[in-house]
């Protein structure tokens, strides 16, 4: 080891993990050819959950903004898709445009909502969701709670639809993961993590707190909108109360809190755990929901770093090259890492 310490971003583990990850994404692209119909459907749902988890985790875990109203963007993403498809645009293109639309709404709201703090912000976002729900209900296309269907999808055969949904969700997931990863690796990402750890200190050092938060908020809105659009493609019917329900936030909270707030790996892990639990217990009705709430509560109180946080704490394992490490120098120990607060 040289006497001069060097700054590295990758660890051996992260090299492996990222390579495996990219390979997995590529392999998953072959899904419709390899797996049966049921598996393809399930994986599509999983991809949507991952998007929701990663985005909510980024918002809460990195920007420190707990929103109980992300269902606003989830519902808007679906609504815009329905509207655009009704207007005649090609269905799968509408997904992307609808997500962008949700992102734009997020951008607009951010100027205002981000002035709220803590619990006020949380409930304030819920009010926004309720308002969005009400406004969407006024649209004659939607006809209140009767809802509408994505009729344009009928143009596809069910196999093609299943495969297209799968690929759209896979692409959406890859895009979301990529965007969040890129964000975290960038200077903005360091700024955001600084804000998470100590907003006042970050501001004192020159971090543009408001701009950074706005970026994450807008990205999260885009992500939730994308998830909503994709969900509509799989469910084909749009009933506002199903999309604007705070239940979606309950799922997002569970995934983020159990997986590990503020960790990229934790978000994915949380989505996998949620997916597994839903597969096993989803049919148990309300006890399932009680379990979700209770688990979130317990984790929030006793295991704030989540499952991944516990793993990371024990093993020092970091699967993603976010942050910096000091290697070498007279003291061979790894001196500092910028991803986690003390």
């Amino acid at each position: 080891m040289s006497l001069v310490p060097s700054v590295k971003r990758w660890t051996p583990a992260s090299r492996v993990a990222v390579t495996v990850g990219i390979a997995a994404l590529a392999a998953l692209a072959a899904g419709p050819a390899l797996f049966g119909a049921n598996a393809v459907d399930k994986l599509t749902t999983l991809f949507i959950y991952v998007i929701l988890a990663v985005m909510w985790n980024a918002l809460a875990g990195y920007a420190g903004l707990v929103s109980i109203g992300q269902q606003a963007f989830f519902g808007l993403g679906a609504y815009f898709t329905a509207r655009l498809a009704d207007a005649g645009l090609p269905v799968y293109a509408t997904l992307g445009i609808a997500a962008l639309g949700a992102g734009l709404v997020g951008l607009g709201l951010s100027a205002f909502m981000l002035k709220l703090k803590g619990g006020e912000f949380a409930i304030g976002m819920w009010v926004v969701a309720e308002l969005a729900h009400l406004l969407v209900n006024l649209d004659t296309l939607v006809r209140g709670e009767t809802g509408t269907s994505l009729i344009a999808l009928n143009a596809f055969t069910s196999e093609a639809r299943r495969a297209d949904n799968y690929w759209a969700a896979l692409a959406g997931m890859a895009l979301s993961l990529g965007l969040v990863f890129w964000l975290l690796r960038s200077r903005q990402g360091v700024a955001i993590q600084a804000i998470r750890d100590d907003e006042a200190a970050a501001e004192a050092v020159g971090v543009r707190v408001a701009a950074s938060k706005r970026l994450v908020f807008t990205l999260a809105a885009f992500g939730a909108g994308l998830a909503g659009a994709l969900y509509l493609a799989t469910a084909t019917t749009f009933q506002p109360h199903a999309y604007f329900s705070p239940q979606w936030t309950a799922y997002m909270v569970f995934m983020a809190v159990v997986g590990g707030l503020g960790t990229f790996e934790g978000a994915i892990l949380g989505a996998l755990v949620f997916f597994a639990i839903e597969a096993l217990f989803g049919a148990s009705g309300v006890w399932y929901l009680v379990g979700l709430g209770a688990t979130s509560l317990v984790f929030a109180l006793f295991f704030p770093k989540g499952v991944w946080g516990a793993i990371e704490g024990r093993t020092g394992l970091r699967l993603l090259p976010i942050g910096y490490r000091l290697i070498g120098g007279e003291n061979k120990q790894i001196v500092a890492s910028a991803t986690k607060s003390a």
């Binding site: 819920w126 009010v127 309720e130 209900n137 709430g293 509560l297 109180l301």
Partner: protein, 299 residues
């Protein structure tokens, strides 16, 4: 005249909102925690009163003699075992924990009572429907007036408690500086637990009037939380009387909106809330900018 009646109804409705908001606002100003399970707890009280009325024939008012202390005890436990821990576990923990709690409470109630809506109105003869007609167009509901009076009494009572009693002083001091308060012999954990007990007792009262004036189901908590929050914010968080004003403004906005359409009720309510919030934030921003300009032009 019809307009005047709507405004009056809205103002009386504001009494209910102030009552629901009271506990939320109180808990926030004392413990700096926004309890997302607040609405669910009000509904829980409503169900408890329903069971006492349905099974044991206790009038809801009599039932309060059991439910209010019960909810106070629950508040104590909530503070000691959940909120205290959550405040130590990080900035996000209280919001996440209370949200998880609300999910647990809502769904346990669903498990026990199902999706059917319930009401306490059948157990109080015709109180829920009785009214005094002032003119052809204007009528004041007895229940609405009673609710408003209850709100005033509760808010006033808590205000007096805080300013005139030693326990109230202890709670106020703990809210300001929990570390220093220990130095002069006040146990901050007890002070906060007492405040939580009081807050939840007021929540149980809100549950009573919710059940009397309307129907509720296991998932009604979310709406109550939102109304409580809106009333608190419109009135200015941290002021108990402000909560009454906030409730009235919300109620009037909703009632006027109802004249336009059924959705108008909610739309105008949310709209006024956002407008007031926006105005307040812009004002604060503006004020801050003016202050810094006066201080010498530093950005």
């Amino acid at each position: 005249m019809i307009l005047l009646n709507q405004i009056l109804q809205g103002a009386l409705l504001g009494g209910y909102y102030a009552l629901v908001a009271c506990g939320l606002s109180f808990m926030f100003s004392v413990m700096r925690v926004i309890n997302l399970a607040h609405g669910s707890l009000a509904v829980l009280a409503g169900y408890a009163l329903y069971v006492l009325a349905d099974r044991f024939g206790l009038s809801p008012f009599t039932g309060m003699l059991i439910v209010a202390p019960g909810m106070a005890a629950l508040g104590w436990a909530l503070q000691r075992f959940v909120l205290e821990r959550a405040s130590r576990a990080g900035l996000l923990a209280p919001v996440l924990a209370t949200f998880g709690l609300s999910i647990v409470i809502d769904n346990l109630m669903f498990e026990r009572f199902g999706a059917d809506t319930r009401s306490l109105a059948p157990f109080v003869d015709d109180l829920a429907y009785a009214s005094w007609a002032l003119t052809d167009d204007i009528a004041i509901g007895k229940l609405a007036l009673m609710t408003f009076a209850a709100a005033v009494i509760v808010l006033g009572g808590i205000q007096l408690f805080l300013t005139r009693t030693s326990y109230g002083r202890a709670i106020r001091a703990t809210a300001e500086d929990a570390d220093t308060v220990g130095l002069i012999g006040v146990n901050p954990r007890v002070a906060n637990a007492l405040a939580a007990a009081i807050a939840l007792a007021s929540v149980s009262l809100a549950g009573l009037f919710l059940g009397l004036r309307a129907t509720f189901d296991p998932y009604s908590g979310g709406a109550q939380l939102i109304f409580a929050f809106e009333a608190t914010v419109i009135g200015g968080a941290g002021s108990l009387w402000g909560t009454l004003i906030g409730g009235i403004v919300l109620g009037v906005a909703q009632s006027l909106g109802a004249l336009i359409s059924p959705q108008g009720f909610f739309l105008l309510g949310h709209g006024v809330f956002l407008a007031v919030l926006f105005a307040r934030l812009a004002f604060d921003d503006f004020g801050a900018r003016v202050r810094s300009a006066l201080a010498g032009g530093r950005a």
